[in-house]
């Protein structure tokens, strides 16, 4: 499997759900170089999921655009695949069939599907379960199947919306490390939304904080740590508290200001 990343360029991205609703966010600019793992953190309701859905091509921006390698994102595509909070596997299919389903849509030949699916399943360490019914897997294993189902498309960009929030702490911790390792090995981009500061530090190359209403990116922080990252490392702990402080300052100061203004 060889995947290359993409340069993500967000230019003056503005969104509102409908004419009556307020702006979800206003004129966001952001560039993410090929191969970067980018975390978006921010308080509930600041527009993180909306931003992700625009990048996935399932929502349209009101103004501005999202470019991947200079190409405007207009619709869903196997080149930018979104993974959801729950795995949403197809229960009548085996692990292998679930992972290969996107390739059958793209009318790949049987042999090629098998080859790619085997690789993807190996990557997420589910080889012993290839022919299992997905209903017999644990929650973490199911999320791995969903990950393989996205990876098999060899996307340039993987979008994750709180992907591990439904899992227990141990499973979550191991998946966070695995996903980062896979992304680094294959070189594709990740943009993921999280509420979990630890998750941002363990997985991301860079974290951006969204705040305000309408939302915007109020802070960017490089997570410049060597791999593999362990939660208890002093450097991880140090960066974590820095991000936490920044997050609280940024999120609250921005949150309070417009609220006071609109209160009159």
């Amino acid at each position: 499997m060889s995947i290359r990343g993409t340069e993500i360029k967000i230019e003056g991205l503005t969104h509102r759900y409908n004419a009556k609703s307020p702006l979800t966010f206003n004129k966001i600019d952001l560039v993410s170089p090929p191969g970067e793992v980018l975390a978006i953190i921010g308080r509930s309701g600041c527009g993180k999921s909306t931003l992700l859905h625009i990048l996935a091509g399932v929502l349209k921006p009101t103004e501005g655009k999202a470019l991947l390698n200079g190409e405007s994102v207009e619709s869903p595509s196997p080149r930018w695949v979104m993974m959801f909070q729950a795995p949403h596997l197809f229960p009548w299919m085996t692990v292998r069939e679930n992972v290969g389903v996107g390739l059958t849509f793209a009318r790949w030949s049987k042999n090629e599907i098998k080859k790619r699916v085997d690789e993807a399943i190996e990557l997420v360490e589910l080889k012993p379960h290839v022919d299992s019914n997905v209903q017999d897997l644990s929650g973490g294993q199911q999320q791995r199947v969903a990950l393989a189902r996205s990876l098999v498309m060899e996307p340039e960009l993987l979008l994750l919306d709180e992907p591990f929030s439904a899992l227990d702490a141990f499973t979550r911790a191991s998946l966070q490390k695995d996903v980062r390792a896979i992304a680094k090995r294959l070189g594709f981009n990740i943009v993921f939304v999280t509420h979990d500061i630890d998750e941002a530090i363990i997985m991301a190359d860079r974290a951006v904080i969204m705040a305000g209403s309408p939302g915007n990116i109020v802070h960017k922080l490089d997570v410049d740590l060597p791999d593999p990252r362990e939660r208890q490392d002093p450097s991880v702990q140090e960066l974590r508290s820095r991000l936490m402080t920044t997050f609280e300052q940024a999120a609250y100061s921005k949150e309070e200001a417009p609220a006071a203004a609109s209160g009159q």
Binding site: S77, F84, L89, P91, V101, G102, F105, A106, G139, S150
Partner: protein, 284 residues
């Protein structure tokens, strides 16, 4: 979080929608082993034999001996060679097949509509339940006027008997299709045809087949009395003919064949249902 299929879905898939737990019970029982098959059938035949034996002990009723088990089996080879059984089989099966085909062709799309569109379900509830409760046979006089041939009239009766289970089973199946499956599929590049073929059809196949199984049962029950009138072929006619000719051994032989054919058709449905069922029993 562990479950791919929610408990809610499992509950509904147990066939609890319109038909209640008896469907589940039926499913389980038809899957009993060969031993139970032999013993069960043996007991049934023994009761039959014994009943006729006891009755015919009374010399007044001696002529009822032809209703017995052994005369029925003895009559069968002759009925087969003379073509009575093959003819009845061909004609009844043709009517059953056509009626079921129309029932499926109407029932599945209607079921999809009421399963997907809430107001369609609400709007159709009263009229559908109203019509559903009318015995299909009561349409016979109307059907005879409305259709050019008796054959078509009987096919109509089968259709109207068989359509309801299919409509409601399809609707029940559709209600448990998870909208997130569409979201995921579209994300992976599926077009509407892929969604129909890869998601909707396998997702509801089990329920549609369950509906077809119930429909087949009802249709097979309705077809015999429907053939009592107007036609000169099929199992209903054969029964009527045997009654008039007072060939009670033939009559019982035909009844045996009707039961056997019904059993075989039902077993085929059960096999298909098992093949297309994807909801697993929970681990607990």
């Amino acid at each position: 979080m562990n479950a791919v299929v929610s408990d809610e879905v499992k509950k509904r898939s147990a066939g609890n929608y319109v038909f209640g737990p008896q469907m589940y019970y039926l499913l389980k029982c038809t899957m009993c082993g060969a031993g139970n098959f032999v013993v069960g059938l043996g007991v049934l035949f023994a009761i039959w034999w014994a009943t006729v034996y006891v009755i015919t002990q009374n010399p007044e009723y001696a002529h009822y001996a032809n209703f017995g088990l052994i005369p029925a089996f003895e009559a069968m080879p002759d009925l087969w060679v003379r073509g009575t059984i093959p003819d009845a089989l061909m004609n009844s099966m043709y009517r059953l097949g056509m009626g079921l085909m129309y029932a499926i062709a109407i029932g599945v799309p209607v079921g999809i509509v009421i399963g997907r569109i809430v107001w369609a379900k609400k709007l159709t509830n009263v009229p559908f339940q109203f019509i559903r409760m009318i015995s299909p046979l009561s349409w016979e006089p109307i059907a005879v006027v409305a259709f050019a041939t008796w054959n078509d009239a009987i096919i109509f009766l089968v259709t109207i008997a068989a359509v309801w289970p299919i409509v409601y089973a399809t609707a029940a199946g559709l209600e448990k299709v998870d909208p997130n499956w569409f979201k995921v599929a579209r994300n992976l590049g599926a077009n509407p045809w892929h969604i129909l073929k890869t998601i909707i059809m396998p997702a509801i196949a089990f329920d549609v087949l369950t509906g077809i199984r119930l429909a087949l049962g009802v249709a097979w029950i309705v077809i015999v009395p429907a053939e009592f009138l107007g036609v000169t072929s099929g199992f209903g006619y054969a029964i009527q003919d045997a009654r008039e000719g007072m060939t009670y051994d033939n009559l019982m032989a035909m009844i045996l064949v009707i039961g056997a054919v019904g059993y075989i058709l039902d077993s085929i449905c059960v096999m298909l249902i098992k093949k297309f069922s994807w909801v697993k029993e929970s681990k607990e």
